[in-house]
Structures are given as C-alpha cells and as structure tokens.
Amino acid sequence: MSGVTTCWSCQGPLTSGALFCDTCGAPSAHLSDNPFVVFGLSQSYALDKQALEKTYFALSRQLHPDRFAAKSPKALMLALQHTATLNAAYATLKDDLNRAIYLLRAQGVNAFDEAGQGSTPPALMATSFELHEALEDATTPQALQSMGQEVTTRVEYCQKRLTQAFAAGDVPAATLAALELKFLQTFRRDWQRKTKQMKDTA
C-alpha cells in the first residue's frame, strides 16, 4: 500500500509526495531529487518557461529557509535542504541542455558521464576540433564576429533537432543533438573569452 507515510513532527499521516504535512504544517522529511517531480511536471522535454518560473517562485515562497527563521531548528534545516534541492531542480529544468541531458540519463544514456568517453561520433569531434583551431587562428574582430554568428546558427539548428527528437521519442537522435550542443557550448565559452580579450586589448 502506498500513498501514506508518517510526518516526523506530529507522527500523523502524510501523503507521500506532499511538501508539507496537512495537519501540522511541518515540511516533509523528503523531497524528490527528480526535478520534474519537484515541479509537478511530466517527464518530457517540452516546457513552458514562464510557467516554470511562476512555479519556482511559488515553491520558494513555501520552502525558503527565511520562512522558518523563527521556527524549530529541525524545520529550518529541512527548509534549507529542500530549497537547495529546489534551486538545483530549477537550474536543471531551466537550461535546455541540462534538461535534455537529465532526460537522456534517465533513459540509460551514459554518454555524458564523467567516464563516458567512447560514444562521441568522430565526425562531431573533428568538427569541434576544427572550430577551435579556426578560433585560434582568428585575428580580427570581424573574423570573430562571423564565427560567432556561424555558431549561433548551428546552436539554433541543434536545438530544433533536439526538440524534434524528443517529440518523436528518438533517443539516439536526441543524444546526438545534445552531444553537439555540449561541444558547441564549450566552444562558445572559449569564443567569448577571446572576444573579450580582443576588446580589452583594443
């Protein structure tokens, strides 16, 4: 039988998954570490970002440790933990790539794990490598700018592929798109660094 656990504070019944005890209002001892569960969303890639933010604020209002500053230290500690979980969940859901990787991992894809090296297609690595080398060779702001535009276009295209792949339930296609986005993200970081350097020394 599921659905009912015990509240740590009043020891009475607590519907599992509830944030707070219906009876005494104490925060639940457990909060899921699945960001979709935390936000009450179905586990899918498509997401309404505005609704997400609203939910984030609503949940923060209930869980934030500041709400418990003058309350029992046990409740305060739970509030602190849960808010940390909430913040991590929000960061995962809000960012398209993070959300995609989370969903892929849940499907058993381990390409993004620390030790998951072997699964990146050689073509993707070659392209990424070439982009980086081109960045190294770029010497003018114009060259950097056009490179930045090219990458932005690629990123947009990748995001579209990613959305379509998830919609179609095509895990391999989604994995490929997410991998490409990941490498493009790293490239973008280096591109920003070089652009800033060039601006500062101008």
Binding site: V4, Q11, P13, A26, F57, R61, A84
Partner: protein, 598 residues
C-alpha cells in the same frame, strides 16, 4: 549577569532588529509591521552612528568617541574583516591610518588599541554591542535577534567574521543580507515597484552592484559583483595625495571634509587646504571608472541590457557625489533614483527583512540571492576546478566526483578556494582538509565525491566522501586567519555577554522552539482527529499538552527536551490511530488490483 530570554518572548513577540554595519557609518532599525521603519538613535537623537571605536578607560563608540584623534581610535574596521595580516589591502589600511599591528601574529590581524591587541572581529563586536544597546533603550526590552547586512561581494571569510562579531556582541544572526538586496527591498516595498533594477552601492569601503528582478514580492538577484576594497575611503586617500606630503592621517581627515563640502560647492577650504570640484573629480575619476566597468560586467552576467532596466538605485554615502550621479546616468542612459536617503536605505531594508523573518512582515515577500564569487577546489596540483560558479542562486549544494592521481594513493588533499581564475595563486584560499582512508587502488579508480553547500547567508560547507568505504570528512569553511572556536569562547568569557550565557541561551532557545513545534503539532493533530478518541483519552491528551506547555518556562535545555519527548510519547498511540485511519480511507472503495499495484 546572565541574560536569558524570557519565555514570554515567543517567536511572535521577540523583536528582530536590522543592522547596517557600515564601513563609515552604522545604523540600527526595526519594523513592527513590515511596512514602516523606526530608526534607533543615540542619546542626542542621531540615527547615523559613525563606525568609530575608541579604547580608553572605557570603550566608546560613534559620537561618544573623544574628539582628539589618537592611536587608540579605530575607524573603517570593516576593511579588515576576514583578511589575513599579510593581505595587501590590510597593509594599505595600516599605512593610511598609521596603526600598529601585531607582527608576531600568525595570519590574524591584531591592532594595538588601548594597550591591548584586538582583532577586527572584536572591534566590530563593540560597534554591534553599542547598536544593540541603543535598540534596547528605544524598545524598553532586551534584544537577541538581528539581521545584519554585508556587502554582496564579501567573501566567505568576511561573512564568517561578521557572524563571529555578532555572536560576541550577544546577537543571534537570523540572516546575513547582502546590502544591495536590502536596498532593493526598501525601494521595492516602499515604492511598489516591479521590474529589473540595478543597485549601485558605493560606500565608504566597499562597492557592490547587483541586478535584481522584482516580481510579485519576490526579489531575485540575477547577478552581482563588486570590489570589497573600493569606496569613499580610497577617494579620500587619492585627494589626500593631491593635498601634500606630510601627516597622511591629517590630510585624509581634511580630504573627507573637503569632499563633503564639494557636494554642493565648487570650491572648499579646510585650513590649510583648498580644493576645487574639478580637482576632486580628477582624483575620484579612476575609481568611478572602475565601478562602471564592474557594473557593465555584472549587467552582462545578468543577461539584461541597460535599456531593459526599469531603474537604477544609488546606495551609500559616496553616491552623493555629483560625479557619480552624472557618470552612472551617462553610462546606462537613465537618471538614477535617489528618493530614499542613500545612508539609510540599507538599514531600512534590513529592518524589513528582520520583520519578515520574525513573522511580522509581508507573507509573500522573498529574497532570492546568489553567491558572488565562484567556489572551487584545487585539482592536480595548482589548478582550480569551479564547483559552484558565481551568480548561482543560494542555498545550493553541488557535488562532483574526483579520483586519485597515483597508484596506491590513500589520501586526498581538499583545498577550497574562491575566485574566478584558473590557478590556485590567483584565487583566495578558504580552507584545507585531508580525506584519509581511501582504499589503495590503481590510479584513477577511486571515487571521491566532493559536495559544496552554500547556505542562505552565503557561507560554505564542504564534504568529501569516499564512495566504496563511506569514509567521510567535512569542514565548515573557517579561514585559517579567522577566530577558531577556542578563541571565541575565550573572548566571550571576557566580554559582557559571557561564554556560558551564549551557549546556554542558544540551547535553551532551540529546545523551546522544538517544544513549541511539538505542541503546535499535537494541537493540530488533536483538532483534526480527536473524534477517533474516547472522551477520557481526549481529556488525558489535553492534560498532557497543558503539562508540556508549562515546560516552556524552564531554563534548562535538557528538561525542556524531556518535556517534548514526554509529549511525543503520550501522543504516539493517537498518531498511530490517525495513520491507520488514513490508510483505511486510501483503500476503501478501491479494487483489489489497484491496491495491490500500489
């Protein structure tokens, strides 16, 4: 005399004060309704108290400090908080002020004041104690709880130091609030504003700039930045340089007065010096330029453009300079808002937050802040791996797995750092600890999980856990040049609020809060399901609750805890009944298959 809070001061009536502990001036205020703010004054009715302390026969603070400038008077001690003795900024401070420092001290800054070596934490505690006294005089009752503001750009060490100072002063810090956020709070609630705002906060010693989004009472920091050693004091020093070469402290004193006069005049005189507005602006411009650069970077970090801002708020005495207003307006294309007194706005916000934490403020108001500096650890000898990047919303916990470098390596050195650069030398070292007991394996096989947790005050705790054996080590990051617990206790012993009172007060308070919680829970459970009990049983539980309630007046933590446990024992059977009942309700009417499938 021991000062233990009276039980009548339950969480509903215990006052919570808001304190702006500034470099140049400090203020203390309170809000009983979450809307209006009352500032506490000194005996002469003055609200802004100079952050100056004199150590003579007695310790005097603020306006009470004797007018004669001497070596036993210390100002701008905030500049030293959380810093090591060999810090470049500490050395600059010492040069400007001519103060003597303990050269024997290992890392901790100790100033010679009134014939004794004192740490910046103790000096700050004296200021806080003074403010506490003023608040108590104004309220006519003792005060224990406070919200204290810190620069958003204050690092972990400086935040710890501030909390330590509060503890020495007999104050329980409910929350450290970042100064720009507090200012935004004052503006937002005061002006009913919504939108995205830049808070530009230039004080005596620190510069902070934050981009905040206000929606429906939620104050969300999008990005923050600053410089913890950039403020009016630096501008004063630059002016002083232009004034001459002798008696630096005298020139700095004159510079300060000249600068203030030039807010409204074009020429000012403080014998034997004369200064024009143009000269002032020339001296100040490099610093203002730096603040604008930082502000631009923070704006970029936030992802908001200058046009998208709904307003720019100026905070801090130094923003009174016409130059600042002009340059900020130029840089971001709009006139900054200056409605609320820039000296008072931070204390105003602190008081509002204090009211909220104490249960008096608006129920829907919320501050969502971020960590200002990236936090990481040393990897592979000399490199820094960021675990929590700057501008991450807090509280937050992030974990990352690491492994060993050499075959058979059984120990791991966890070196925690704060900063944006890639190497250890270019970041600030926060703490170090060792994890031993890693099983000897081939290099790269071991799995050590390192967890960084930042709380709502922006203070970091680090845990390292070896996955196969479960060996664990953790450290609440306390910098090596801060006060350790033993020194704290020593200091508490010798201050008015003594060590025993501090510890006991804390334990009594916590025990009472837990008992109150247990009582509320019991009452709620009773109200919900008393019909499950016979009248006799109901009477018994009511009596148990009444007995437990009396324990709130006790002042021995263990006795209070015992009362709570007795109450919980008394309610156990009833609680089980309630759970049974709930299970029944969940099952009744459902088909067997549905129940079996869970």
């Amino acid at each position: 005399m021991l000062q233990i809070s009276e039980p009548g001061q339950s969480k509903k009536t215990r006052p919570v004060i808001g304190i702006d502990l500034g470099t140049t001036n400090s203020l203390v205020a309170i809000s009983s309704d979450g809307k209006t703010v009352r500032y506490f004054t000194d005996e002469q009715g003055r609200v802004t108290i100079p952050s100056v302390v004199h150590y003579g026969e007695v310790v005097s603070v603020g306006y009470d400090v004797p007018k004669v400038r001497g070596i036993d008077t210390v100002r701008s001690v905030k500049r030293l908080m959380g810093r090591a003795a060999d810090d470049a900024d500490v050395l600059a401070y010492l040069t400007r002020t001519g103060m003597a420092v303990d050269t024997e001290s290992e890392g901790i800054v100790r100033l010679l004041l009134g014939g004794k070596w004192r740490t910046p934490v103790e000096v700050s505690a004296d200021i806080l104690r003074y403010l506490k006294t003023r608040a108590e005089a104004g309220l006519g009752e003792p005060v224990f709880d406070a919200v204290i503001t810190v620069p958003a750009y204050f690092n972990d060490a400086a935040r710890q130091a501030t909390k330590d100072a509060a503890r020495l002063a007999g104050l329980n810090v409910l929350r450290l609030v970042n100064e720009p956020t507090a200012a935004a709070l004052a503006y937002g609630l005061d002006k009913q504003a919504e939108g995205t705002f830049m808070i530009y906060d230039l004080g005596g010693g620190t510069f902070d700039v934050s981009i905040l989004k206000l929606t429906d009472g939620v104050f969300q920091v999008l990005a923050t930045g600053g410089d913890a050693v950039l403020g009016g004091d630096d501008i004063d020093a630059a002016i002083a340089e232009a004034l001459g070469e002798e008696d630096l402290p005298a020139r700095i004193q004159a510079a300060r007065v000249l600068k203030e006069k030039l807010t409204t005049a074009d020429v000012a005189e403080v014998y034997p010096f004369t200064l024009t507005r143009a000269q002032l602006e020339q001296a100040a411009m490099p610093y203002i330029r730096r603040t604008l650069l930082i502000a631009e970077e923070v704006l970029e970090d936030s992802g908001i453009s200058a046009d998208e801002l709904s307003g720019i708020v100026l905070v801090g005495g130094s923003t009174r300079m016409p130059l600042v207003r002009r340059k900020v307006a130029e840089a971001f294309g709009r006139e900054p808002l200056v409605d609320i007194d820039p000296d008072k706005v931070v204390a105003h916000g602190a008081a509002l937050q204090a009211a909220a934490l104490g249960g008096q403020g608006r129920a829907d108001m919320l501050l969502l802040d971020v960590t200002p500096l990236s936090l990481g650890l040393e990897t592979m000898g000399g490199l820094v791996e960021k675990i929590i990047p700057r501008n991450t919303p807090i509280p937050i916990t992030r974990a990352q797995e690491f492994t060993t470098f050499k075959d058979g390596q059984t120990g791991m050195d966890i070196h925690v750092l704060q900063g944006e650069r890639e190497t250890v030398e270019t970041c600030r070292s926060l703490a170090r600890f060792r994890l031993s007991g890693i099983p000897p394996l081939v290099a790269g096989q071991a799995r050590v999980m390192v967890m960084f947790s930042v709380d709502a005050d922006g203070i970091l705790t680090v845990r390292a856990l070896e996955q196969t054996t479960g060996t664990e080590q953790s450290v609440q990051v306390k910098p090596s040049y801060g006060l350790d617990e033993a020194e704290m206790i020593e200091m508490l012993k010798s201050s008015i609020t003594n060590a025993r009172a501090d510890v006991t007060e804390r334990m009594v308070r916590e025990a009472r809060l837990e008992l109150e919680r247990a009582l509320e829970a019991a009452q709620a459970a009773f109200n919900a399901d008393k019909t499950l009990l016979s009248l006799d049983d109901q009477q018994r539980l009511l009596a148990d609750m009444a007995t437990a309630k009396q324990a709130l007046t006790l002042s021995v933590p263990d006795e209070i805890k015992q009362a709570m446990e007795t109450l919980e024992d008394a309610f156990r059977t009833f609680a089980e009944l309630r759970v049974q009942e709930a299970l029944k309700k969940a099952v009744v009417g459902k088909k067997i298959q549905d129940v079996a499938n869970g």
